[in-house]
């Protein structure tokens, strides 16, 4: 389906709406190709087209009902409208609380072109398969230490959001990701690693064919995994820590982003009586946390799922909490501006305030030359010793490879996991098995002292808030130094 057809359909359904309340229509048409190689064999090629429509209808007092179906047609839209209205009225009859904030939303009418550099089907699937096969085989040949899986996924996700106030926005989000996953078995112990390269289209495969950047990274990580298998556990404690930009994205996303989302403010550790604690110093001067869409990024989304422009928000400026991520329904209650933060997994989900690309920006940055993982570890060590930020022989732990994390926004407890640890306080750069990095979010942020290397914002993931999976991304400088803090710890011995 073309973008204009989608707009015409949504416009037509909205024209027939004659109630006194309010209605939001979300129509989505999504196309996806996926390929997977394992240990030299092509295991799967899959294609899929998914489309559908979701309608959220509001009574005049703002009580809503929602209906969705995986079919895109005017007839289906009319049926869904009736169903959503009936549920809204039923909900009102049961005494549900209304929310009329959407009435205040500004009128938006825009259709954005597809920002991809190459069309979805520019390279046919059989040719994509050949390219991916060559990349997979090249990886196997260059690194026989691990058993390898290579997968590639490309998506074209078209949205049209219409509202009964006459707003109508449409846009296309193109995404592509190449991943290498390696598993290493050593002396009865196992470890795995995952690296990825993302972009908007199959151009990432051509880039990889040209520079083999991901292949080198995958091989390097596999070598590291092999050492991790044989490594000891770290004694639990509070150490100076260096985190890579993937983990910094995790810290900013899990520890801070979720705590400033407007629907969580009643319970957030960064809220006070339901309002964001604006003006609270949460980090040193020179530290900023910024969230906003970046074109061409994995988590790019130009409009909210409620049809409002997605804005870039300085959550923390110069160490001070300034703004939160507000959607139209709860921003005012949370004491923050509406920033178009509503996102939904699909047309069949209710949007929630959530992040797009979140980055941790540091004022004090030490330049760092390009290098492989162990060279980086040595360069970081030398740079920090030269600045007398760390002491020779004092355990300073570089956490390698972000595996994900979780936070309890109410208590401020966070946990992160990495693939392995290097002690850069020791000249021999000894390696330890992964240990949990945990503590209190405010303490972790206050412990950030400086950055090393250039800003890198392509750490990608999937955010699973309330069971809805949406793409997320972000980063920081290549590495960040965190001072030792009693409220932030690493570790444990089995």
């Amino acid at each position: 389906m073309k973008q204009e057809q989608l707009r015409e359909m949504v416009r037509g359904i909205l024209k027939e709406y004659e109630e006194d309340g309010y209605v939001i229509i979300r129509a989505e048409a999504r196309r996806e190709w996926g390929l997977r190689f394992s240990d030299g064999r092509l295991e799967r090629v899959s294609t899929g087209r998914e489309e559908g429509m979701g309608i959220q209808a509001f009574t005049p007092s703002g009580v809503s009902g929602f209906a969705s179906a995986d079919i895109l047609s005017s007839a289906s839209g009319r049926r869904l409208m009736e169903r959503a209205l009936a549920l809204a009225n039923r909900n009102e009859g049961l005494g549900a609380e209304g929310n009329t904030e959407i009435w205040k939303a500004k009128l938006v009418q825009e259709a954005l072109p597809n920002p991809a550099n190459r069309s979805f089907a520019e390279m046919p699937l059989n040719q994509l398969t050949e390219v991916l096969s060559s990349l997979h085989i090249s990886l196997i040949k260059s690194c026989q230490e691990a058993i390898w899986q290579t997968s590639y996924r490309q998506v074209e996700d078209m949205w049209c959001i219409g509202r009964s106030d006459g707003s109508l926005v449409s846009y296309v989000i193109p995404r592509a990701v190449l991943m290498h996953q390696g598993t290493v078995h050593r002396d009865g112990k196992n470890a795995s690693s995952l690296v990825h390269r993302s972009g908007t289209d199959m151009g990432i495969l051509l880039d990889e064919q040209a520079d083999h950047h991901l292949e080198h990274e995958a091989a390097e990580r596999a070598g590291f995994s092999a050492k991790v298998c044989e490594a000891p556990f770290l004694s639990p404690g509070h150490y100076p820590v260096v985190i890579d930009y993937g983990l910094a994205k995790g810290l900013a996303h899990e520890a801070f982003g979720h705590a400033v989302e407007s629907d969580h403010m009643q319970e957030s550790v960064l809220g006070d009586n339901g309002k964001l604690k604006r003006g609270l110093r949460v980090a040193r001067p020179g530290i900023h946390i910024i969230d906003g869409p970046l074109q061409g990024d994995w988590a790019y989304q130009p409009f909210s799922a409620n049809g409002l422009p997605r804005e870039t928000v300085w959550i923390v400026r110069d160490g001070v909490l300034e703004k939160g991520l507000g959607d139209i329904f709860s921003a005012e209650e949370a004491g923050i501006p509406v920033s178009g933060a509503g996102r939904a997994e699909s047309y069949a989900h209710i949007p929630l305030p959530r992040m797009s690309n979140i980055r941790l920006v540091v004022g004090d940055v030490i330049p760092l030359p390009e290098g492989d993982l162990m060279e980086d570890a040595e360069n970081v060590r030398q740079a920090l010793l030269a600045r007398e930020e760390i002491k020779q022989g004092e355990k300073t732990l570089l956490l390698v490879g972000y595996r994900g994390g979780q936070v309890n926004p109410k208590t401020g407890d966070f946990v992160f996991q990495c693939e392995g640890i290097i002690d850069i306080g020791a000249e021999a750069l000894p390696i330890y098995r992964p240990s949990i990095f945990s503590g209190k979010i405010l303490s972790a942020l206050q412990a950030i002292k400086l950055g090393l290397g250039e800003e890198t914002y392509d750490a990608i993931g999937t955010c699973g808030k309330n069971g809805q999976a949406v793409p997320s991304s972000g980063g920081s400088n290549r590495y960040l130094l965190l001072e030792a803090d009693r409220q932030v710890s690493l570790g444990g011995e089995a």
Binding site: E32, W33, S38, L42, R44, V45, S46, T47, G48, E51, G52, Q56, G62, V63, G65, F66, A67, S68, A69, D70, I71, S73, S76, A84, L87, N91, L94, A96, E97, N99, P124, L125, I147, Q149, N190, A191, S192, F233, P236, D263, Q266, A348, I350, L352, R403, G404, V407, N408, T411, D413, V415, R433, P434, S435, I436, S438, G491, G492, E493, A494
Partner: protein, 443 residues
């Protein structure tokens, strides 16, 4: 026309038409799920809020697997088309052909076999979707009315009803009705429970869960008594059934997937199964059982057309088989097995299971882990865990004495192999409590 009928007509045509050219098929398989659902929610004590309005959903979607005349195969996700005419599938067919690949182990279409009788439909749920939905709204109102005054409650109720269709070119044509029901709620986002079966919750199940959650909630309101001994390496760590289920999802499901084992991505090698290596204590068994009435993971036939049957993955602590889809089974040299849906359908048991209430009375020094942060970040293949559990209940001399927070560090496979590990069960819970000796420190 229904999606399953559209697809059947399309695939039969390209299997038999003499002018199908490169689109000629030698075999095919269709799976279609046709469903309606009604979901209700409660956010911060507010029922039907703008983030949790009553939500109705309908859909027809599934998967197609085709084997072309040249031996290549393709698979694709599909959903109903507005017109339903065969012509509207032309673009899809072209996509599928373009995506064709060679996979000699993957082209088997199963031969029909007798199906078991399994209860997977609760007619009361069909009634809810037909409009008789007072029971769901009543449950939400009850949760709100009975919750502790000061607690902030979150809740979700979902009823799903529909049809599952499986068709194959070898003559399998199965359509059956199925239902699903989910109830979950939490108090202050600290403690909660979940119930997911193919039928509505029974009164006694409701009461049992409510009493357990309230008991834990009250214990969490108390700080640990002054002078109470902190946790130590002597402390028994007790994983609640919901945490055990999460552990099974993180460490067992990925490592017992036949595909992972065959591809070297599992903690276990094929030869470990062939040699019946002992990996757990001799009292433990692990099965996939899709035949239990009204369980979430129960079914009559897999998406590939394999009739449901019980499969033992671990017997008396020794590896038996991974779970095998049709393609994995061919590579393995065996029959396809039962398939769990996530952890649903997977059951861990122990020959010496005791009643939880009586076991609790005998715990002198323990910590009850209600939930863990970051389990999904752990390396499944290694079995290692290093987890933060900020919401736990300290147990001293058989009593829940107050809240505490701990960090636990260990290896789940070693836990299941350790002679010191004990198992307790609460009636009506799918998974047991696990009492383990593992690394534990106060937060």
């Amino acid at each position: 026309m229904k999606l399953v009928a559209q697809l059947e007509e399309l695939l039969r045509k390209f299997q038999t038409a003499s002018d199908a050219g490169e689109y000629r098929l030698s075999g095919w398989r269709i799976f279609v799920h046709e469903s309606q659902s009604l979901a209700l929610g409660l956010k911060d004590n507010s029922p039907g809020s703008v983030y949790t309005p009553p939500a109705y959903r309908e859909g027809e979607s599934g998967e197609v697997f085709v084997v072309w005349a040249d031996g290549k195969c393709s698979q694709a996700k599909v959903q109903a088309k507005p017109t339903g005419e065969l012509q509207s599938w032309q673009n899809d067919l072209q996509d599928w052909r373009q995506a064709a690949y060679e996979d000699p182990d993957g082209t088997t279409i199963v031969i029909p076999a007798p199906l078991p009788l399994v209860a997977v439909e609760d007619r009361a749920i069909a009634g809810i979707l037909a409009g008789d939905d007072e029971v769901l709204f009543g449950q939400l109102a009850r949760l709100l009315a009975e919750k502790p005054m000061q607690a902030k409650m979150q809740a979700h109720i979902n009823a799903i009803w529909g049809y599952r269709h499986v068709r194959t070119s070898t003559g399998l044509a199965v359509s059956y009705r199925e239902s699903q029901y989910i109830l979950s709620y939490s108090l202050d986002r600290l403690v909660g429970t979940g119930f997911a079966k193919r039928r509505l919750i029974k009164a006694e199940e409701w009461t049992d869960r409510w009493d357990t959650v309230l008991g834990y909630y009250e214990a969490l309101q108390k700080g640990v008594q002054p002078g109470a001994s902190p946790v130590s390496q002597e402390t028994t760590v007790i994983l609640t059934p919901s945490v055990v289920e999460e552990m099974l999802g993180q460490y067992i499901v990925p490592n017992f997937s036949g595909q992972s084992v065959l591809e070297g991505q599992s903690a276990f090698r094929p030869e470990s199964f062939h040699k019946r290596e002992k990996i757990f204590g001799p009292e433990f068994s692990l099965i996939v059982d899709p035949l239990r009435p009204w369980e979430w993971g129960s079914y009559l036939v897999t998406l590939e057309g394999v009739p449901a049957e019980r499969t033992t993955l671990v017997r008396n602590g020794a590896l038996e088989t991974p779970f095998l889809r049709v393609k994995d089974a061919k590579r393995w040299g065996g029959k396809p097995t039962a398939i769990p849906q996530g952890t649903a359908g997977l059951f861990l048991s122990h020959r010496q299971e005791a009643n939880w209430a009586s076991v609790l009375k005998g715990v002198e020094d323990g910590v009850l882990i209600l939930s863990v942060l970051g389990l999904h970040t752990q390396d499944s293949v290694s079995g290692d865990y290093s987890l933060s559990a900020p919401q736990c209940i300290r147990i001293l001399n058989g009593h829940l004495v107050g809240s505490t927070g701990v960090k636990i560090t260990g290896n789940f496979f070693k836990d299941l192999a350790a002679p010191s590990t004990r198992v307790a069960r609460e009636e009506r819970e799918v998974q047991p409590y696990l009492l383990i000796k593992t690394g534990v420190q106060s937060l």
